[in-house]
Symmetry: C2
Subunit: 335 residues, 2 copies
DNA sequence: CTGAAAGCGCTTACAG
DNA sequence: CTGAAAGCGCTTACAG
């Protein structure tokens, strides 16, 4: 920048003013500066700018796993929105590990990101609050907690599973298992409660099965379930990981869907409609969640007030081929 | 840091030395500094450190699309490797847009990343070289070019399609279509050439079909192909986008795989083995590619010499249910 | 081994 | 509108 100033015969400050375009600079000088920039092929050092101006135009996204289809979709969309607004995203993957998440969040803080979007869960809200630190704009997405200290965006989980369960009940199913990975997570608890509520209203017994954290574990657990005499007539998965496990397990057992059992997936993704039978799903509104998350974060960064800090978006039930009327003793039960 | 120095009754420089752990500092002072840090809950400002030390411990990854399963797998793995080494990754998505890619690369450069891994393609190698700029460590992955100015990592594309085609030929197929998205990309050209070579050796006519860039376009193009009287007995897709399109198109046409047509996918991913029939695939070595890419980038950042700058890794053919012996006029042809 | 001082490349009040 | 100067929070030769 010094060189540019010399080349254009203006002061350092003027170059800065031209490049930032905030203050008005005489057309004459502007042109000289711009010419000097192209002549010298000047590239601004954003690190120096950030140090002084105290904004990095960088945000951090903290996810458990990029390969999880929900998080991949959210990251993709947020990156688009952020980069359109001139922000660059730093992404960190934490696994389901609270300490890693804390360490990574601290790292992003040291890197002076302007804000964070957190989808990983820490053991407690206080832990999250201290890791993020005071004054750091931060939005929690999906992995909300009961007492989130930050604005949050999530699916209306209770309603989503309630509607999904209602769908299965309307098909005559009474023996439904809801299979989840992390029963301690607040969003899972919400999903369970929506399921239980619908089952209670139908006076049916709500059965929740914890199937482990990975696809492999879920496959094993569900294989056992499918082979047991106590197999339900319908399985409702708690997220896309469990859905994957369920499809694997079903193939392993030679179970026929939907003849032997109906399957409803929480989370929808491209391949679900290409399977045969195509799998019915409760579709989380990933795009809208991303939009809202970015909107809230922008507002926080801009120190604008946030009217509604906790946003819940409705899910959509997509009925395909895997959920059909319940069959008992070889006969279809009327819905 | 100033406050820490005052609290610990040492100089600013000493605090820096303790925190960086490079220079030896008397145990006595070390303890005082560390105590002061925890007492004040000190968080270092990496931006300031970066400005002075000229290293940000940040790398940039440039991908066309995070949702593409190959890039998602590569990003996930590279993020793991980089963060284990103390680096944070900035990720930018460019679509198939050369100008966007250039702009984003410039941005990363202004943000002073220590290195870049580029998976997006620019119109030419020179354009890439100027965007990245002199002295910037940079590794090209997957989207290699004939005259890459940077070290590169990619699948051995020629061999991969050669082996895949051989597999189809060995099943008696003579009428095989290889369907691709971007025939102008060098990696696609390699894949085409492996296909053509195998077909030439078998004295069969090599037919390449360009199906557009998106899954939607591919679906339409392949639906037309499947409905034409000229439908091949086997389809070999050029990447995971085309595979998706092929599965969609097949469902739309009510085409039965593998009875009516065999299907071989370039790129493998979880769902392929869950489809029925499970889809045979040429599996790109994503994990190894990530490892090699990170290794090369580390070497460049560390200014260590690179012995083999262009790395090619063999693909693996995974035979499942979608590729079977060719059927002509209702009879299976002996392989 | 420790400290005082310079400086990384910008932005930003402050005069003029 | 323009420029000179201070300063963002660190690291890094350089003395001592």
């Amino acid at each position: 920048m010094n060189e540019v100033a010399r080349e254009a015969n203006v002061s350092l400050g003027t170059v800065s003013k031209v490049l930032n375009g905030k203050v008005t600079v005489a057309e004459e000088l502007r042109k000289r500066v711009l010419a000097a920039c192209t002549k010298l092929n000047y590239q601004r050092n954003q690190i120096a700018a950030s140090l002084r101006s105290r904004e990095t135009h960088t945000i951090g996204i903290i996810v458990p796993d990029i390969l999880n289809t929900l998080y991949a979709a959210l990251v993709e969309k947020i990156e688009n929105l952020a980069s359109a607004a001139g922000y660059t995203v730093m992404i960190v993957a934490t696994g389901e590990n609270s300490e890693r998440a804390q360490a990574r969040i601290r790292l992003l803080r040291e890197r002076q990101v302007d804000g964070m979007i957190v989808m990983s869960s820490l053991e407690s809200s206080e832990l999250l609050a201290t890791a993020v630190g005071a004054g750091m704009p931060c939005i929690v997405v999906d992995r909300i907690t009961e007492d989130t200290p930050f604005p949050s965006v999530a699916t209306d989980n209770v309603d989503a599973t309630y509607q999904g369960t209602k769908h299965l009940l309307s098909l005559g199913h009474r023996h439904i298992v809801f299979a989840v990975t992390s029963p301690h997570l607040w969003n899972t608890q919400e999903r369970i409660s929506g399921f239980e509520q619908a089952m209670r209203e139908a006076r049916a017994k709500a059965e929740v099965r914890v199937v482990g954290l990975s696809v492999q574990e879920a496959t094993i657990s569900l294989t056992n379930l499918f082979r047991s005499p106590d197999r339900p007539t319908a399985l409702f998965t708690g997220n896309n990981i469990v859905t994957l496990g369920a499809v694997c397990a079903q193939l392993e057992c030679g179970l026929s869907i939907p003849d032997d059992m109906s399957l409803l997936s929480f989370d929808d993704f491209e391949w679900l409609k290409l399977l045969r039978p195509a799998v019915s799903a409760v579709q989380q509104p990933a795009d809208q969640m991303a939009v809202e998350a970015w909107r809230l974060l922008s507002q926080q960064i801009g120190k604008r007030p946030i009217a509604v800090p906790h946003i819940r978006i409705g899910a959509q039930l997509v009925i395909r081929q895997s959920t059909v009327a319940c069959v008992t003793r070889g006969k279809k039960v009327k819905a």
